[in-house]
């Protein structure tokens, strides 16, 4: 199995404070990785290095075999889906235009192709077509998240980055969304990197779970392995109440 994303000897400080400390990781193509850690552990920083929103002080981030510091970041980002926490749909665009945002950036003059992509992804994330012309303020929390997922997938990226995407929805909606993202992963086989602060979510969704603390890896492995053989006290504490 080939490697989709690779971190090599990454260090990063913000204002003198070390956030990431000699970080090394390989993520295989098609894997669903969940990342868990307390706030300030550096999980969002790691995620944003993949689409070059944050640059490491030293070390290399390699995506699909290419060093991200050496390629056009705009092209890179268009091929990586990005869904972040909270409701960050573009409030001035309809559901349709939100989902079509990246496809439109890619095929500027081919609105038919964009429209097709919108309809396809609406169906995949279980949104009724009558919502197409709705504005974001007219959607429920769950609908918003679905639109957010559809938007991040609409250009058919082979990597999807998700930063606590279900943080703001109620428990029932969250369960549904978890089932759906799992199903989407099974159907598309894209690489997903998913940040959560909920250990249950991490264990249910991930093919592999990455537990980080203070910018360093505590443990990286399949959910069962984590549960059965927690490698550090920190990991034990985190899975303690599962």
């Amino acid at each position: 199995m080939s490697v989709a994303i690779e971190f090599k000897n990454i260090n990063k400080s913000f204002d003198e404070k070390k956030v990431i400390n000699n970080f090394n990781l390989e993520i295989d193509k098609g894997d669903f990785i969940t990342i868990i850690g307390s706030s300030g552990s550096g999980k969002t920083t790691i995620l944003k290095m993949i689409n070059a929103l944050i640059k490491p002080d030293n070390g290399q981030v390699i995506v699909n075999g290419e060093d991200v510091s050496k390629i056009d970041v705009v092209d890179l980002r268009r091929n990586i889906g990005y869904a972040i926490q909270g409701n960050v749909l573009f409030p001035h665009l309809s559901v349709k235009d939100n989902i079509a945002y990246v496809p439109k950036l890619l095929n500027k003059n081919n609105s038919e192709k964009s429209e097709e992509a919108v309809k396809k992804w609406m169906k995949i994330v279980n949104l009724e077509e009558e919502l197409l012309e709705r504005m974001p303020y007219e959607l429920s929390g769950g609908q918003s998240q679905r639109v957010g997922i559809a938007r991040s997938l609409a250009a058919s990226p082979d990597i999807l980055l998700m930063d606590e995407p279900f943080g703001a929805v109620d428990a029932i909606t969250r369960l549904k969304l978890q089932e759906e993202i799992k199903r989407i992963h099974n159907e598309t086989k894209i690489t997903i990197v998913f940040i959560t602060h909920d250990i249950n979510e991490a264990l249910i969704l991930g093919d592999k779970v990455l537990i980080i603390n203070e910018g360093q890896i505590e443990q990286y492995g399949p959910p069962l392995e984590i549960k059965n053989n927690p490698s550090t006290d920190y990991v034990k504490r985190i899975i303690g109440n599962v």
Binding site: L53, P91, S94, V102, M135
Partner: protein, 518 residues
């Protein structure tokens, strides 16, 4: 009752007011369109690059310059008239535009911007697909504020010879015609209210959390094509208008100062020149600031001639020392010729010099009849004059020195407001002109200049020599009025306009008929 007068004046002079309203809209609109374009660009530059914050400071600073001062600054560079007015209006309109655009952009949720960035938008795509649409409601409300402000401020543009409804206001003030002033003010207010209402409707459409927006969306009404289209149409209309109103070659541009007698003389000149020759006259009446703004306009060639007073030319334009009397006229004429290539043509025959007047009540109380009488009680009295009286060499300071005046207080007043101020006892003593129409009032007493302090101010036309050469017939026409108007004639005509509320044009016509000139 007053409102009734205003409406009957409006209907009597319908064409005059319609014309002014259209001019007003045109001047405002040009300024607004440019302010929107320039303001948006500057606002974007300031918000996208923090190091450009200084632009905001400069715009803030310029905004604090009083409008009349800014108009005055611009005249030496861009001349008298619409262009200076439009530039000044744009400068003022920039602050709300730049600020609105800036705060609209910087207040957008950072997460939304990061989402757009993370999805692979370029900096420019983030700007025009995300930031500008999200800032639009904010920008639109700034535009609304700016437009209302500009429409109101355009009223002041008349001060520097631009058109618009300010002309009516200014004329009303300088000829003591409150109905005219009110009519102009009401029309400006009405314009501002109507335009504000229309813009409030458009503003609603820009809000993305209201149902109106979906309508816009559905029919795709906000897109590049419509915006560019609307802009092009506006620019075409303005360009066509500019093109059509370009002045013809056979036009004499006459300026007058904001004084009733100059409105009358201006009207006389217009009628006489147009009836005696093939020349057209473009009359810019009541240029604010008088000589100090007309002289630069003459030098730039915006104006061809204007009625001026010999003493003013000597002291204020040539800046010669000493008191002017008519034995210096040949010097005056040759200096004007050498320095400016202008000539003095056609002495009208009246001397509009300064005098000092008090109310009858004050005169009786203190038993005043001469300036020297006044000097002994001046510390109990309040003095008022138009602002340039304090600046002139033969003005306030020299007068006080000569007679030993020491007034309790001094006030700056517009020429047209002085008589009201003295009647309301806001001032006790004022300077007057010897041709003031309101001097006919028995309640106002002119004191005697017992030391013969004041210089001579004979009225004549200052004309550019170039124009006299191009149109040789002009000189003879101007000479027809030589010696034709006495101080009494002028004072009576001023009275007819200021007190009897006749139109300057009608008074001028009656006089020309009386003298057998038309």
């Amino acid at each position: 009752m007053l409102i009734g007068d205003v409406f009957s004046l409006m209907s009597e002079q319908k064409d005059f007011f319609i014309n002014l309203t259209l001019e007003h809209l045109q001047i405002s609109l040009i300024a607004i369109v440019f302010a929107i374009i320039v303001g948006l660009i500057l606002g974007i530059i300031v918000s996208e690059y923090q190091r450009n914050k200084w632009i905001l400071s400069i715009i803030n600073f310029v905004y604090t310059i009083p409008s009349i001062a800014l108009f005055g600054f611009l005249i030496p560079f861009t001349g008298i008239g619409d262009i200076s007015a439009i530039i000044a209006l744009i400068v003022y309109a920039l602050l709300p535009m730049v600020r609105g655009t800036h705060s609209g952009i910087v207040n957008i949720d950072k997460n939304i911007i990061e989402a757009a960035k993370g999805m692979g938008s370029t900096k420019f795509q983030i700007l025009y697909k995300i930031k500008l649409p999200l800032a639009l409601p904010h920008i639109m409300s700034s535009i609304r504020t700016m437009v209302v402000m500009t429409i109101a401020l355009t009223g002041i543009a008349a001060f520097i010879g631009a058109g618009g409804l300010g002309v009516a206001i200014y004329r009303g003030i300088t000829t003591n015609n409150i109905v005219m002033t009110l009519a102009g003010s009401i029309l400006i207010a009405a314009l501002a209210i109507i335009v504000d209402f229309l813009l409030s409707q458009i503003e609603k459409l820009t809000k993305y959390d209201e149902p109106h927006r979906r309508f816009l969306h559905k029919y795709n009404l906000i897109n590049k094509k419509t915006v560019i289209g609307v802009l092009l149409i506006i620019i075409c209309i303005l360009a066509a208008n500019q093109f059509l109103t370009t002045s013809e070659e056979n036009t004499i541009n006459i300026a007058t100062k904001p004084m009733t007698e100059q409105y009358i003389i201006g009207a006389m000149l217009e009628e006489l020149i147009e009836s005696e020759s093939d020349l057209n006259v473009d009359l810019t009446t009541g240029v604010g600031g008088g000589t100090s703004n007309i002289q630069p306009g003459m030098l730039k060639g915006d104006f061809d001639l204007y009625p001026e007073y010999t003493g003013t030319g000597w002291m204020e334009v040539l800046k010669e020392d000493g008191i002017y009397n008519e034995s210096l006229f040949n010097d005056l004429q040759s200096k004007y010729n050498d320095e400016y290539d202008f000539s003095w043509v056609g002495m009208y025959g009246f001397d509009d010099t300064y005098g000092i007047a008090v109310t009858k009540e004050v005169a009786d109380k203190y038993n005043l009849s001469t300036y020297s009488d006044l000097a002994s009680v001046s510390n109990e009295l309040k003095f008022g004059a138009e602002y340039d009286f304090y600046e002139r060499e033969d003005g306030y300071d020299a007068l006080c020195e000569e007679y030993g005046f020491n007034f309790k207080s001094t006030t700056d007043l517009d020429i047209g407001l002085k008589y009201n101020a003295i009647k309301e006892n806001k001032i006790d003593v004022m300077n007057v002109f010897t041709t003031d129409g309101q001097l006919n009032d028995p309640n106002i007493v002119v004191l005697k200049d017992d030391k013969e302090f004041y210089p001579s101010y004979l009225c004549a036309n200052v004309v550019r020599n170039e124009v006299l050469e191009e149109h040789p017939e002009l000189k003879n026409i101007l000479l027809k009025l030589e010696g034709a108007i006495s101080a009494e004639d002028m004072s009576r005509m001023n009275y007819e306009v200021e007190i009897e509320k006749k139109e300057p044009k009608d008074v001028a016509h009656e006089f020309l008929v009386l003298k057998g000139l038309v």
